[in-house]
């Protein structure tokens, strides 16, 4: 059964400010084929889709290299509109629906049927009247094709989330010339039943001859619905296989990869000479954190004093929420005890007072005051919470500039922060050096427990090692307990003594850094827990 090739993306290369995000990607989709695109976060899936969709982000950052062929012809996709014109549709994670409009109006957005009237003949086509009768007819037709009995004139605003996706599909279907629909993590927000219906719908669409590109990390669904699978890792295509040749374990292993060369697994992360070796320093009981897109739904962990504890998992599964919840950045419920004493939740000051500190995953937005000096960024938390770097003059507490500069110079030397001096504005520093400033910021508080989230995100390889080494040094020399959250399994495995994998807001399992890639992959993709529920 030879199907015609519909889409071919050939030798796609993309760089963002010097770092290569996509390396020689080749991917094809045939007519009527359902192809899944799997990979960890940061593997390049979203970038590839942004290129396919002609998103301005791509053009504003230097474009891309490579060719795209659609229906046998080379195409130049300059905007989302031209992608749509070709017949490429997208069902987004964040719904592109206008809540104040009815289902019909959303399906027909910017493609409404119109009729001429007196004024439009005089003043132009924009004044043509909307032909609601034909619009409703078309919408009804397409909704019926998807087996949806909902009233097409209902406003989208009140509808349950599950319906939104179908309305987006209806919209793509209504464009009679749609040939390819890209589904971007569609089941992330759906219930099990809604996900089943969606998968069924995808098969219906494929039977009609519409090709589907299904982006997901839910390996079970991949096996259920797709014809072929492409696996991305670190910006490269590592596998292109037929679904019948794939298993969950195989996919998990391909996603994680076997790269152990660069960082050696280091077991001396815990100092064996530390007397409090096995004592629990932080106990988290049934923590729930309401962080949008990284919700934690009940996590219990026991962190040992002096260890480097890793928290991993795929994006959106909740690993980032843990540190944010404990430190009071996002609202949370549950109990956190430090050495037996309960820490007040939703109160950042309380966390600081209990000698906890944290380096945020969002370096630029949360971690730094970009328009202020390096020295101010380093000392500000200590000023606010520990009254350090202040001089008392006549009853007022003023900042002690000299002291601050001296201390900052010390930090700059210790962490090798490349800057022109402590007074330089942080915005001008490179990503790696900005990260070091964040770390310095947290260390100045002299915490006993340090949460670090995504410590080496966006940093080049050389700087990565320095940052990780410094964390190790803090742990070994100062006995600081470090809880490191990261999407890069490699770095977790290189310095942590234990790694917890978070899936769907809960702990899927805790592994030793020596555990196999397959085990990690299964926990991260939720397959192991899934199987547990079955048995």
């Amino acid at each position: 059964m030879s199907k015609r090739c519909l889409l071919e993306m050939k030798n796609i290369n993309k760089e963002y400010f010097g770092s290569k995000v996509l390396k020689n990607i080749n991917i094809t989709v045939n007519e009527g084929e359902i192809r899944s695109l799997v990979g960890e976060n940061g593997a390049g899936k979203s970038t590839l889709m942004n290129i396919l969709f002609g998103m301005p982000l791509i053009h504003n950052t230097g474009g891309f290299k490579g060719k795209i062929f659609f229906n046998g012809e080379k195409v130049d996709i300059k905007s989302p509109w031209s992608a749509m014109d070709l017949g490429i549709g997208m069902v987004h994670q964040e719904f592109m629906l206008l809540p104040g409009f009815s289902i019909t109006e959303n399906i027909k957005l910017n493609r409404e049927q119109t009729k001429h009237n007196l004024l439009s003949k005089l003043f132009g086509p924009k004044l043509k009247s909307l032909d609601f009768v034909s619009m409703r007819k078309d919408s009804r037709f397409v909704l019926d094709a998807l087996d949806l009995s909902i009233d097409e004139m209902l406003p989208v605003a009140g509808l349950p989330v599950g319906y939104m996706q179908f309305i987006e599909i209806a919209r793509e279907l209504d464009k009679k010339y749609t040939k390819l629909i890209v589904f971007d993590e569609p089941t992330a927000v759906l219930t099990e039943i809604e996900a089943e219906t969606l998968i069924k719908t995808m098969k219906i669409l494929a039977e009609k001859g519409i090709s589907i590109l299904f982006i997901t990390h839910r390996l079970g669904e991949v096996l259920k619905v797709s014809d072929n699978i492409t696996v991305l890792r670190d910006g490269e295509v590592v596998a292109d296989l037929k679904t019948k040749d794939a298993t969950v374990e195989k996919l998990a292993e391909l996603m994680i990869g076997k790269k152990l060369g660069k960082f050696s697994v280091n077991h001396t992360a815990q100092s064996p000479f530390n007397e409090d070796f096995n004592k629990t320093t932080l106990k988290i009981e049934d923590l729930k954190v309401f962080m949008p897109s990284e919700e934690v739904k009940g996590i219990s962990l026991e962190i040992k004093k002096g260890e480097i504890f890793g928290i991993g998992g795929l994006a959106g599964q909740g690993k980032i929420g843990i540190a944010n919840g404990v430190m009071g950045i996002y609202s949370s419920e549950g109990r956190v005890l430090k050495e037996g004493k309960e820490i007040k939740l939703n109160d950042t000051t309380s966390a600081f007072n209990n000698r906890l500190a944290f380096v945020s995953e969002d370096r630029r937005e949360v971690g730094l005051l970009l328009d202020h000096s390096v020295e101010l960024n380093i000392v500000i938390k200590a000023i606010q919470h520990q009254n350090k770097f202040l001089r008392k003059i006549g009853g007022l507490r003023l900042i002690d500039r000299k002291n601050i500069t001296q201390y900052s110079l010390k930090m700059i030397k210790e962490l090798d922060i490349r800057c022109r001096g402590p007074k330089q504005i942080v915005r001008r520093l490179s990503g790696g050096n900005q990260q070091k400033v964040c770390i310095a910021n947290a260390i100045t508080l002299e915490p006993e427990i340090l949460f670090v989230s995504e410590p080496t995100r966006g940093i080049d390889v050389g700087a990565k090692k320095i940052v990780l080494d410094h964390l190790k040094k803090l742990n070994q020399e100062l006995g600081m307990t470090i809880i490191m959250t990261s999407s890069e399994l490699i770095e977790l495995r290189s310095i942590c003594s234990r790694i917890a994998i978070i899936y769907k807001g809960k702990v899927a399992g805790i592994l030793s850094p020596d555990a196999s890639e397959v085990e990690f992959g299964l926990l991260m993709a939720g397959e192991k827990s899934y199987q547990k529920e079955i048995s």
Partner: protein
């Protein structure tokens, strides 16, 4: 070598960024006007003296913008609230029969008290309307002025110096301060240099408040406020209460507004009630923007430069315009410069923002 040149260029760009192109343009225009005025034979000594007076009398009102902008609220378009506090304080000072310096300091102290209270509540209001502080502030100011108009009419003031002579009830629109605390600061230790009168007391008082602001921005609370305004997410992650910082910012701003109008009135020699203060916040906003500030950041230097340039322009433009055109141009020029400056600041494309 290239690296060094690149760094120097970045430095120059940074400095220009602090000061801003409008500032340079207006500064050049002002100097041009001064030379032109001299060429026309206008009394430069008198003009310069006038500039110093107006610089000192408007300065504190402009300083009031700093805590507001730095705390993240943006320019304080509701400065009228502070101004009203100051006016009430001044009227009370006259009502209680205080004269000279006593009257002045009494007014200042009462305005600080009133300003703190009103500033606190205003801060609470602005915390609930994040994103629309400028518009809400403007109309809070306008409404307050209108409400105060009613107050001035029906409040039970008794001092003959202030009430309508024939009606008996309600305060006059303009009240002279000749016999109270008019000019007390200006005339204190007044001296002439090269024929230019320097209002020492006034400038010293202004300098005092500059120092107060400087110190405030260096206290623990001040730093917390600056952080909260610079990046609220960062502040929250650092355990700083953004809400509390904004309220503190408004309290300081309102207090400076209240004291500012007292200083302004004493220099002007008249207390102007009713609708006179309606547009004063806009002049203060424009002044600090001219000095190079933006909606997101402002410094004391910018307040000083801006006030000097703005007032300088107004002082010099009028007589020059009189020679060249007809009168009335000063009012129009003021409206165009003030609002043009604010429009420019509102429509600037900040780096990376849409």
């Amino acid at each position: 070598m290239n690296e060094k040149i690149k760094r120097n260029i970045i430095d120059i760009k940074d400095t220009l960024g602090t000061v801003g192109y409008p500032c340079l343009i207006i500064a050049l225009f002002l100097f041009f006007l001064l030379f032109y005025a001299a060429a026309l034979g206008l009394p430069l000594t008198y003009l310069l003296g006038s500039i110093f007076v107006r610089f000192g009398m408007n300065g504190i009102l402009v300083l009031a913008m700093i805590p507001s902008i730095k705390s993240g609220i943006g320019p304080n378009f509701g400065l009228s609230l502070g101004i009203v506090c100051g006016l009430v304080a001044a009227t009370l000072s006259i009502e209680f029969g205080m004269l000279g310096f006593t009257g002045f300091f009494f007014a200042v102290v009462v305005s600080i008290i009133l300003g703190s209270i009103i500033g606190y509540f205003y801060g609470l209001l602005l915390n609930k309307v994040k994103g629309q502080e400028m518009t809400v502030g403007t109309f809070a100011g306008f409404s307050t002025i209108s409400l105060m108009c009613i107050f001035w009419l029906i409040a039970p003031y008794k001092s003959y110096k202030m009430i309508w002579p024939y009606g008996g009830e309600g305060l006059r629109v303009t009240i002279t301060l000749q016999n109270d605390f008019g000019q007390v600061l200006n005339n204190w230790k007044l001296f002439k240099i090269f024929g230019v009168s320097i209002p020492t007391g006034l400038l010293l008082f202004f300098a005092l408040f500059c120092i107060i602001m400087w110190i405030f921005l260096r206290t623990k609370t001040g730093i917390a406020m600056v952080a909260a305004g610079s990046n609220p997410k960062y502040a929250k992650a650092s355990g700083i209460s953004v809400e509390k910082s904004r309220i503190i910012g408004m309290v300081v701003s309102t207090v400076f507004g209240a004291v500012g109008i007292v200083v302004y009135a004493q220099s002007y020699g008249f207390l102007q009630l009713y609708t006179a203060p309606l547009y004063m916040p806009f002049f203060a906003v424009a002044a600090i923007l001219i000095g190079g500030a933006s909606i997101k950041n402002a410094s004391i230097t910018q307040a000083l430069i801006g006030t000097f340039l703005f007032q300088g322009l107004l002082v010099v433009a009028l007589p020059v315009a009189n020679e060249v055109f007809a009168s009335n141009l000063s009012e129009i020029a003021r409206a165009i410069i003030t609002n043009g400056m604010i429009l420019y600041a509102l429509t600037r494309r900040e780096a990376g923002v849409e």
